[in-house]
């Protein structure tokens, strides 16, 4: 093993852990802010550290501190299986976290003739990894619900378990049609396949080639992550809080965070399988590396435009109404952030100038393209997370029998039908 390979493996692992863990507070904040914006409210925007409120994201950290310091209440009627009761939220959290590890963040790097995967777990059977580890998460829900010795918790756990059974089939079958189409179980190879173009104009994304399977995949993943409209397992109008009724403080927070990690993982899987992963449409890694100078010049023009629009938006929105006398330190924060963003932009410009004109090298080009792909991946991931959140605040919850009917009567036969057609076309046409 060379130094480069160890370095890349470490960086990818840190990147994976950060992307899975650091997005939790951001997602909680996004959920609350987006919900309030949809409902014409303002949302949490007051909490700050030394006047820096960053749009209110500090609130999530304050909430974590509060949950950590809360009394560790423990229901006294639970006599047997205490350790499993405590462990259950951890199982849910860790399963969602581990499932995220198989997602590629950038294309395979070629350094000194060595192929290095930018994946937290450098495996080439990511689909199997996701399907097997992702399904373990529901065990935590079932254990937690069953060992609570509480009828609502038990009902919630039963609902979660039966829902996973009915949607896992549709999920597996729709993923299978993608496996047939791309002829691989490796997430990275799937992304590379999708960076082709279709009929010369469309990007060959899964959503355009397999619209039916894509929709089934997205719906099944919504159900798998217990997100609306499939939140029957914690339907507060029927069964209090479902499986987490007896869980308090940090135990509850583990379930809560596990839900967000699962949502993040589901988004990552959806964009990797269906929306071209870390690639921009019409642009493949090879194309970027061949036309590296054009790419960097475009980027050097794009970064200031993006920063200009963002700073303009921030100056417009990070201030209070004119009728108010005090701005609560928002002007100062805007000034500091504007300076920081301009300096960051200058730094990026210098870096791009360096790798493309002053000291052009293969290594520099490879790394620049990889970093660009990671950033593209994060932006796509966040966009899909926002889609998850907006859907939650758009749709009401399905009734439990409707959930089961949708899974067994509609999605499963459709997924089977789609798999059948895909198999005929793949074998017949020899795609």
């Amino acid at each position: 093993m060379s130094t480069a390979s160890i370095f890349v493996a470490l960086i990818s692992f840190i990147l994976g852990a950060l992307l899975a863990l650091l997005t939790i507070p951001v997602l909680v904040w996004l959920e609350r802010r987006i919900a309030s914006l949809i409902q014409d409210r303002v949302g949490p925007n007051r909490t700050n550290i030394f006047g820096f409120r960053l749009g209110g994201v500090v609130q999530s950290f304050a909430d974590v501190v509060k949950l950590l310091l809360k009394e560790e209440y423990y229901p006294s009627h639970i006599k047997m299986g205490r350790w499993l009761f405590m462990l259950a939220p951890v199982i849910t959290f860790v399963a969602a976290f581990l499932a995220f590890m198989a997602i590629p963040f950038a294309d395979t790097l070629l350094i000194d003739g060595e192929l290095l995967r930018v994946q937290a777990l450098p495996i080439d059977f990511g689909v199997f990894w996701y399907l097997s580890i992702g399904a373990v998460g529901v065990l935590g829900v079932i254990f937690g619900g069953y060992l609570s010795h509480n009828k609502y918790a038990l009902l919630g756990a039963a609902r979660a378990g039966s829902m996973v059974i009915s949607y896992e089939l549709a999920l597996g079958l729709s993923v299978l049609s993608f496996v047939l189409l791309y002829d691989t179980v490796d997430f990275n190879a799937m992304v590379i396949w999708q960076s082709q173009t279709l009929f010369g104009s469309l990007p060959a994304w899964g959503i355009f080639i397999q619209p039916l399977a894509s929709i089934i995949l997205i719906v099944a993943l919504f159900a798998e992550t217990n997100r609306n409209p499939f939140t029957v397992a914690e339907g507060e109008s029927e069964i209090v809080a479902g499986y987490m009724t007896e869980h308090t403080a940090m135990k509850f927070a583990m379930y809560f965070m596990g839900e967000y990690v699962a949502m993040n993982t589901a988004s990552a899987v959806i964009i990797t399988v269906v929306f071209g992963g870390y690639q921009l449409p019409w642009v493949s890694t090879a194309m970027l590396l061949e036309n590296f100078t054009t790419f960097t010049v475009t980027l050097m023009m794009g970064v200031p435009i993006f920063l200009f629009i963002f700073i303009k938006w921030m100056r417009k929105n990070n201030r209070v109404k004119e009728t108010l006398s005090s701005d609560g330190g928002r002007n100062f924060e805007t000034k500091v952030l504007t300076t920081a963003l301009v300096l960051m932009g200058l730094f990026i410009e210098m870096l791009l100038l360096y790798v493309s004109f002053i000291a052009p090298s293969d290594l520099g080009a490879t790394l620049t393209v990889a970093i660009f792909q990671v950033i593209t991946f994060v932006i796509k991931l966040m966009m899909f997370n926002i889609f998850f959140i907006i859907i939650r605040w758009t749709l009401p919850r399905f009734r439990y029998d409707q959930v089961q009917k949708l899974g067994w009567v509609y999605l499963l036969p459709l997924a089977l039908f789609n798999l059948f057609i895909t198999a005929i076309i793949v074998v017949g046409v020899g795609l």
Binding site: D40, R319, V320, G328, L395
Partner: protein, 174 residues
């Protein structure tokens, strides 16, 4: 079956309904429009930025914090008749009566306490008062304190509150 019962036919569920997706798209369009408009201009959101902005729509009928009214000569209008304490559903008014020496009236309260932590702000005391001596027209809607004792209003505090809507003295006592 009575002839008054009118049976409404259920709307027919077409393929468009059963697909769910058109309805989801329509709903998504509405929520996304709200999200995008408010994201573009957060200050257009019609929300009171409390506490920097204070409510301006408190009317004279709003039941705020209590006050004891005065007579024209500046003394308290209360005659310690205990009607308010009797009417109070949460038993939060504590009065001690005293003979009034100055000849204006016969009785006056020696002490008058309202425990606002017990009070449910129902306004029955105001309705019961025969002398228009207790009112809830101060317009004070938020009361803060560091300890429980801060919320027990005594006679001096209740007399010091000003009416927010013009009527300063008791209408019943000259």
């Amino acid at each position: 079956m009575s002839h008054n019962i009118k049976i409404t036919a259920r709307p027919e569920r077409t393929l468009k309904h059963n697909l769910y997706l058109p309805a989801i798209y329509a709903g998504f369009k509405v929520t996304f429009k709200h999200f995008f408009t408010n994201l573009n201009d957060i200050n257009a959101v019609e929300t009171l930025r409390y506490p920097e902005e204070q409510p301006t729509d408190i009317s004279s009928r709003y039941r705020g914090l209590h006050r004891l009214t005065h007579r024209e000569d500046g003394t308290e209008a209360c005659v310690a008749c205990f009607m308010c304490a009797t009417a109070c559903p949460s038993n939060c008014i504590f009065i001690e009566a005293q003979e009034r020496e100055d000849g204006v009236d016969e009785k006056r309260p020696k002490s008058f306490f309202i425990d606002t932590l017990e009070c449910v702000f129902c306004g029955y005391c105001v309705e019961a008062c025969p002398c228009d001596a207790i009112r809830m027209d101060t317009g004070i809607f938020s009361l803060t304190g560091d300890k429980r004792e801060d919320f027990v209003m005594d006679k001096e505090m209740l007399l010091s509150h000003k009416g927010a809507f013009g009527e300063e003295v008791s209408c019943a006592r000259g």
